[in-house]
Symmetry: C2
Amino acid sequence: MRVSTRGEYGVRAMFDLALHSGAGPIALKTIAERQMISEHYLEQLMAALRKAGLVKSRRGAQGGYQLAHEPENVSIGQIIRVLEGPITPLDCLDTHTGTGPYCQTPDRCVLRNLWKELQDSMKQVLDNTTLEDLKQDAYRLEVTEGQ
Amino acid sequence: MRVSTRGEYGVRAMFDLALHSGAGPIALKTIAERQMISEHYLEQLMAALRKAGLVKSRRGAQGGYQLAHEPENVSIGQIIRVLEGPITPLDCLDTHTGTGPYCQTPDRCVLRNLWKELQDSMKQVLDNTTLEDLKQDAYRLEVTEGQ
DNA sequence: TCAATTCCTACGGATTTAGTCGGAAATGAA
DNA sequence: TTCATTTCCGACTAAATCCGTAGGAATTGA
């Protein structure tokens, strides 16, 4: 039931980009240092995010990465799916065809419903939280922090 | 974000015991056959469930396993915790001491809140569903199935 | 031209997953 | 008692996944 470092780091990196958006491309090295993530490892994650269209990149000097869309249009669920695959507690939930052993008997279908409920509750959180929401949270934290 | 076969099989086995509760011990072999799970593998899972006090066993001929508590007093969350460990998307959420890199800066705390929300939503489903709930579901399925 | 930076492929060690194997100990029935 | 049944226990393992590392090619701005 864990998010791997791929998902965790990926969200951190995207959140970092969101916080610093609008100021041109940000070098991988900068993100890696700020977020304390191995540069080479993060590179792989950014490659996946780029191929999925969530970030755009510019090579060469002064190059780097930036969000491909506005923070309010990027959900955490999107990021997780790119880096961890489908959001599901059991693979057969999404690829379900009816022939698997999971739904051959009524009692197994009961369990299927259970896992589906779990899946829905996870999606509910991840798909309804955007990078903009997190930015707002960060702003709120910073304001109240100084008091 | 997946439940491993330990959790999946464990829930299946416990649900099987719940459906057949009150009729004395049920042999591992029977459960394994009904649920299509490797006998030896299931044995390991039952050992963990027994040590955790969720099932009780009787050795020897006519021996087997039965639930240690009434189905309404056993949640899916309990089963999952025994077989998969704490229900948490990130290990640091539960073992958090404040010294980890996750909460040294406000922006990281924002992410912590995100993962906590996800954790809560997972717990909400798993801790509020009992074996008795599943039995009820199974009964309902069986009734409507014949129509 | 050159330093900075992304892009790409391959490799590798550690851990986890999903079991298997073999036998000891306990129990009920004949 | 004897025996088949059944749990209990520890060790082993093949494969997959996780979490990176290494090295260099290609691109870009100054």
